[in-house]
């Protein structure tokens, strides 16, 4: 980064967070190609979805953001690596190991190497820095905390671990409540606090407000650090035209007492975290809700938010930067 690079911090879950972070990275590269200073990009990633598989720590959201920014993400699945093979999984299944959480061979290498580093005494922040550096990721990826936090959801069948609900049961259960096990004793890392206090712009990715953004905000001290940051907080709606682009954010909004609309997300943020979100980005399909968003005390911004390809990602990143990036 040059002295004048804009420090941008993204709060991210998996696919939506990965795409928006990628869009900002692409916008930054384009700025630099044009002689501008670009961004100093940090992504604070939800680790509440983490789980142990085959004795290895798997961090699905960190991996999705890492693979996406490294150009390795599988475009068809939203998880895992492109050009993947499945030999280890077939052998693990032969050994009787549970393989419902599918791990390809290249992906498995990530979990093996991460777990080796953690067992050798590195923090998750340090291990993530090593992995992302090796893959040439053009951003600083930070787990929200080095302490384990595990999201659980309450359903008619009781409390379920997040991936049990999300992957194994295909997020078909109605979610009655969400809790974040371990959050009470977790803390934002020093790197996270530094990034927030030095941020020039903070963006909430179009990730699930309960189990992605909400998990990050459940880490004690995180909300205070965000409120204390000099940067504006811009949240991007994960709901477009009344439906989540991916995952269960829409049904969660309903079952948890809200409305499955973009304005419903804004209302959730306003109610749950008063004064936190300064601006709210709505898709053009939801332009009619701009006034309602404004009435919640957030500045509405209407633009195309659906990121089908890299051009869409970059366009959304550039649009947010153009409107909310301080003059550089």
């Amino acid at each position: 980064m040059t002295a004048a690079s804009l420090p941008v911090v993204v709060l991210a879950g998996g696919v939506g967070g990965a795409k928006l972070a990628h869009g900002l990275a692409l916008a930054s590269a384009a700025e630099r190609a044009a002689g501008a200073p670009g961004l100093d990009l940090t992504v604070i990633v939800n680790t509440g979805d983490d789980l142990e598989v085959h004795g290895l720590l798997v961090s699905p959201d960190l991996d999705t953001v890492m693979y996406t920014l490294a150009g390795l993400a599988n475009p068809d699945t939203g998880w895992g690596v492109t050009d993947e093979t499945w030999s280890a999984s077939a052998m693990l299944e032969r050994y009787g190991a549970p393989v419902w959480f599918r791990l390809g061979d290249r992906d498995l290498a990530t979990h093996v190497e991460r777990t080796r580093r953690l067992r050798a005494g590195e923090s998750l922040t340090e291990a993530t820095a090593a992995l992302t550096a090796a893959l040439g990721v053009p951003a600083r990826l930070l787990p929200m905390s080095d302490e384990p936090v595990r999201t659980e959801v309450e359903t008619a069948d009781g409390w379920l671990e997040f991936q049990d609900y999300f992957v194994r049961r295909g997020h078909r259960d109605e979610v009655l409540a969400v809790r974040h096990r371990g959050a009470d004793s977790a803390r934002p890392t020093a790197a996270v606090l530094n990034a927030l206090s030095g941020a020039g712009l903070i963006v909430f990715a179009p990730s699930n407000p309960f189990v992605s953004i909400g998990t990050i905000l459940a880490v004690p001290g995180m909300l205070d650090a965000l409120m204390a940051s000099p940067a504006r907080v811009v949240a991007v709606s994960p709901i477009v035209a009344g439906a989540a682009l991916r995952g269960p954010a829409d049904s969660m909004l309903q079952s948890l007492g809200g409305e499955a609309t973009a304005a419903g997300v804004a209302a959730h943020y306003a109610r749950r975290y008063p004064g936190l979100v300064d601006a709210f980005v709505l898709d053009t399909a939801d332009a009619g809700a701009a006034a309602e968003v404004g009435s919640l005390g957030m500045e509405p911004m209407v633009t195309g938010t659906v990121m089908r390809d890299e051009r869409d990602r970059q366009a959304l990143g550039a649009a947010i930067l153009e409107r909310y990036g301080p003059a550089r």
Copy 2:
């Protein structure tokens, strides 16, 4: 096993041990197909070559014997699994991990699952039983000990860990001495002691007498258990016509003060473990050394010992059983 199955115990290193154990298993299956009771086969395997790779416990000799008996061994390499892919290794290399000890994807699954079981509190014996059962291995595979023993060799460059010497440096260094780190505090497992005390026949595979058979015998209590066993001990020469069929047994015999011949192996056993070996199997190419073997107090048996294919393996197994298997 039926009541009359012959309890046969093989002491084995890697490839030579795997082939002979496979030959005995094939001979047992042929006996059973003909209505005879067959064998109750146990293989006590050297674990002095074990090492940690990517934070996972790799047990090369256990794996070679397991894959061979499961019909999964790669016939071209002498290690690893057939129909292998290499995606994880390529990714691990990208992460900067050392990949000189090559692990294919299916093989990696073995190390992941074994390590998971060990970390969950299973012994290596228990983990091995689970893996071999899953692969349908027709024998009881027993690590020589559940405590770690690590073979090291002294070279002109000092003491080297075994796989550093064997794989990374291609066993080109002259070996001046061998030691077994951890052996003093290791013990044969209860399963090993049971197998030896109940054996009807004990066979030393054509494995390296210093770093395979010698490592097993270096575990305190192992030699006593072998001497106390009622079974005859039959050793198969790993040297044929003055050369090791595989690996550095021949050059080790010379550098450690012996002769790189089949008789030299017999002399090593006689000198180092007096009274242990009752019979010694020489290849037909070494028939001329039978008298010399006899003069060492061992009964010489001359037969084809080179196991190029499964027929050779079965023939050697059947020949040993015919001569030394007690009447059943």
